[in-house]
């Protein structure tokens, strides 16, 4: 996994979404096929557009309270935070062009 993608926990989450850049948080799990398809795309976006968006991940198995807090009932779900507030919710796997469009990059 790319060094630029941080794995968030219940402890580190709130601090991490407070960022001047938008933060895209990918809720995922090992057992989710579509999540695996999205992972390399997110790595590419992190590497190519690290100046415009921060990519982070939440493993739902390890952090159940975060799924409950944000009403995540399907993965992959990607939440885009701007100034610490949820600004957009992307449900389901998408291709790179689709994700960049959602991120307005």
């Amino acid at each position: 996994m790319s060094d630029t993608i941080e794995n968030l926990t219940e402890a580190s989450f709130d601090e991490a979404i407070k960022n001047d850049l938008p933060v895209l948080v990918d809720f995922w799990a090992e057992w989710c096929g579509p999540c695996r398809a999205v992972a390399p795309i997110l790595e590419e976006i992190a590497n190519e557009h690290g100046d415009k968006v921060v990519i982070a991940k939440v493993n739902v198995d390890e952090n159940p309270a975060l799924s409950v807090r944000f009403s995540v009932r399907s993965i992959p779900t990607m939440l885009l935070f701007k100034s610490g507030e949820e600004a957009k919710r992307i449900v389901g796997a998408k291709n790179k062009a689709g994700l960049l469009k959602e991120l307005e990059i």
């Binding site: 009932r73 399907s74 796997a93």
Partner: protein, 321 residues
């Protein structure tokens, strides 16, 4: 000019990847246009990407995870030189040779790919109910992927719609999490295989609502309940559920070929069975996209093998002519 390929395989489930293994071993250097990520069965690897244990694929006596099986298929094809692009075909022109293929954009300008022959293995995808609210509540209680989403319904009451193998398999899987799973089926008996039925009947977390159809999905931010009507008595009821899993059947992914390849009235491609050729010479079809009857991973793989052999022979004949 786009590069000219001997063989382009559209789709990368068991049928397309088996065709890739065989045609790569026959030195045809196939290119697989694998599809793009999604949370439906219409994605690279196909419908098995949404399953957990595959128990009936020969050669795996202890079963194998669906995504792992598809990763194995793919690396086996790559070993013999098959190439892959993670892209979705948006348009084809089969009226002239070489055939033309466009991806990720409408049919205009120069094609992205050209091929002497094509194997169509685009599979099938789940049918939705078509009710108001259904799409809005995907990811908020409505799901098309039990393996992705079951985890979020721990100790909750949920419903599965359908009576075939996939509905019963999903319902059984979901009892690992949910406190109660109601299977809603429009008939009074299941279409699922005997072994799946017996498992479901023996599971005390599963209840059945027979002769019943869902006619409304209620909830704003999250799914709250569904309205069900009994199609014999017309009796209406509301079922409070936080999760709704839809498994009412599949539709072949053939919109792309409308007007170019012959289909039956349900949209399945017609082939000159037992051969895999279609009404366009040089275009072959395999897997669920042309199989209304069996729709199994192993039958898809078998027909993918046939398609590769048919394509190889057809290309040879062109060369000789």
């Amino acid at each position: 000019m786009p590069a000219l390929h001997n063989l382009i395989i559209i789709g990368s489930g068991p049928a397309g990847l088996t065709a890739a293994i065989y045609s790569a071993r026959a030195a045809l250097e196939p290119l697989v246009l694998a599809g793009e990520p999604s949370s439906t069965g219409d994605q690279p690897g196909g419908q098995l990407m949404l399953t957990t244990d595959v128990e009936n694929f020969p050669g795996f006596p202890k079963g194998i995870m669906g995504p792992e099986l598809m990763a194995n298929f793919r690396s086996q094809a790559e070993r013999f030189g098959a190439k892959f692009e993670t892209t979705k075909v948006t348009s084809v022109d089969l009226s002239q040779r070489p055939f033309k293929i466009w991806t990720d954009r409408p049919h205009d300008g120069e094609a992205d790919y050209e091929a002497k022959s094509i194997i169509v293995s685009t599979g099938a995808k789940s049918v939705m109910l078509g009710l108001d609210n259904e799409t809005e509540l995907i990811g908020r209680g409505v799901s098309t992927c039990a393996t992705c989403d079951g985890f979020f319904f721990k100790d909750q009451e949920i419903a599965v719609i359908g009576g075939g193998d996939s509905a019963i398999e999903e319902a059984t899987f979901l009892t690992k999490f949910a406190s109660k799973v109601t299977i809603i089926h429009r008939r009074d008996e299941l279409r699922a295989s005997k072994i799946m039925q017996e498992r479901a009947f023996a599971n005390d977390k599963i209840e059945f609502l027979w002769d019943s159809e869902v006619h409304a999905i209620n909830g704003t931010e999250q799914l709250e309940s569904i309205d069900v009507v009994n199609n014999k008595t017309q009796e209406k009821s509301t079922l409070a559920v936080t999760g709704l899993f839809i498994a009412i059947g599949h539709r072949p992914n053939t919109d792309l070929f409308k007007g170019q390849l012959d289909t039956n009235d349900k949209g399945y491609l017609l082939t000159n069975s037992p051969a895999t050729s279609t009404n366009v010479a040089g275009v072959f079809a395999c897997g669920d996209v042309q199989d209304e009857t069996y729709r199994q991973a192993i039958t898809a793989a078998g027909s993918g093998c046939s398609a590769a052999i048919d394509a190889e022979r057809w290309l040879e004949d062109q060369h000789d002519a």
